[in-house]
Amino acid sequence: MNRENIEEILKKLGSEDVPADMQAIAEEASEQFSKTLTPSRQHIWSNVMRSPITKLAAAAAIAIIVLGGITFWPSSSENGKWWLGPPAAWGQEIIAALDTIKGITCRERTLLVIANGSKHTSGTWNIIYVSHDSYRNDIYDGDFLREIQWYVPDGNNMIQHYVRFDLECYGAVTHKGTFGNHDPIERIRFHVWHLDKADKLLGQKVIEDRNCVGFEISASEYGDNPKEWLDRIWFDVETKLPVWIEEHGRPVTGKPNVTFTNIKDQFDYNPELPAGTFIPEVPDGFVNAHPDEIKAAREK
């Protein structure tokens, strides 16, 4: 095959029009995809049953089903193993599921890993509460609630209010950037965006009584990060919402022989929270001071 023949075929390809049935599939898929991006996605199955594309594709023996703009292949959808289908498809489903979430609570823990292989669970752990525009971080030291942090929007910035129960003080710090810079749901979305680059399918296992499927991806796949930074994320097979997220191999400042693993679990989606959850509240008798000031005063 010489260069002229290739050019000739390319020119012929260039003159091809999109067949009417492909045009119809493109328009329908594009419309349906767009609908999945709006927060209120209802009666999805009834839409599927009404979709002319479903019939068209079935007749073509390819048997694709356009579901909210997403193509499922029978081999993966009929047995419920959606994750075996094209990542573009179920990735969008997961994002759509996340977009319906109004609030989340989850637990966050840190595991320190020493170069010799020994592991040490940090004594502190957090419960995170997230709403549509605010979030709150309850920091425990063992069983003791040591601190509550409330992050509330303030124009283009966020104000972090804190109450230290161990030091009986409170205060506030302004952070640059909007809620989007801090939003844990955005962080989950970030993980989902990159699942099509996942290095490993971790298979299925039961976590917190839920049937889950897991993926592993190196952070080098989505940024200029070391290959050793691994993320593992487990989704509920039924709801397609994250159940367990691990970020491995992250460095500890000033300790080259130590890395840490961040683990988020015990997710509760759309929990019923008390009205005042995201409103900073200072106990009587606490003083407005930086924790370091209190510590210094106590050491004197």
Partner: protein
């Protein structure tokens, strides 16, 4: 960026480029299943990168998105190294065999999906979209001479890949 703003940009871009996307992806896939999959990838990537599509460079980004989506869809079918599911052409026994025109087109599409981004972009713009070198240079953010070079190298790469097949 707020979700509502992202949606607004996405809808604008979708309206403007839907026909273009369908056209490019059909020419690059020529297969219903691949077309549908590439389209899904493209729509998803448009949503992911929607912030970048709100400006003069939108057209160039859409090209990139379409080509990446096409490569992903092909990669799922033929594997990362392009070896999976090779057509049964029996070329080893008789290199002089010629394949039909539609098979040739299929092989060229498959080979384009394995080209680097700039070469693939250049050859698609030049031959599948019949664009001028000036326009190609603008979209690839390079000089006209460089655009010509990308096209030429792409053709050479295709010839190298397909020399014995077609």
């Amino acid at each position: 960026m707020k979700h509502s703003k992202r949606l607004e940009i996405f809808e604008k871009v979708r309206a403007e480029y839907a026909g273009f996307l369908a056209s490019v992806l059909w020419k690059l896939t020529g297969d219903k299943e691949l077309f549908a999959e590439a389209l899904q990838y493209a729509l998803l990537e448009m949503w992911r990168k929607v912030e970048k599509l709100d400006g003069e460079k939108a057209g160039a980004y859409i090209y990139r998105i379409a080509l990446t989506a096409n490569s992903k869809a092909w990669r799922n079918r033929i594997g990362r190294d392009g070896r999976a599911g090779q057509p049964q052409l029996n070329i080893e026994e008789d290199p002089q065999d010629r394949v039909s025109s539609s098979e040739s087109a299929g092989l060229i599409r498959r080979a384009i999906a394995q080209l680097g981004a700039k070469q693939a972009g250049a050859v698609v713009m030049r031959y599948l979209q019949q664009q001028s070198y000036e326009s190609i240079a603008g979209k690839l953010n390079c000089s006209e001479d460089t655009a010509r070079s990308h096209v030429s190298k792409a053709l050479a790469a295709l010839k190298s890949k397909l020399g014995n097949l077609i």
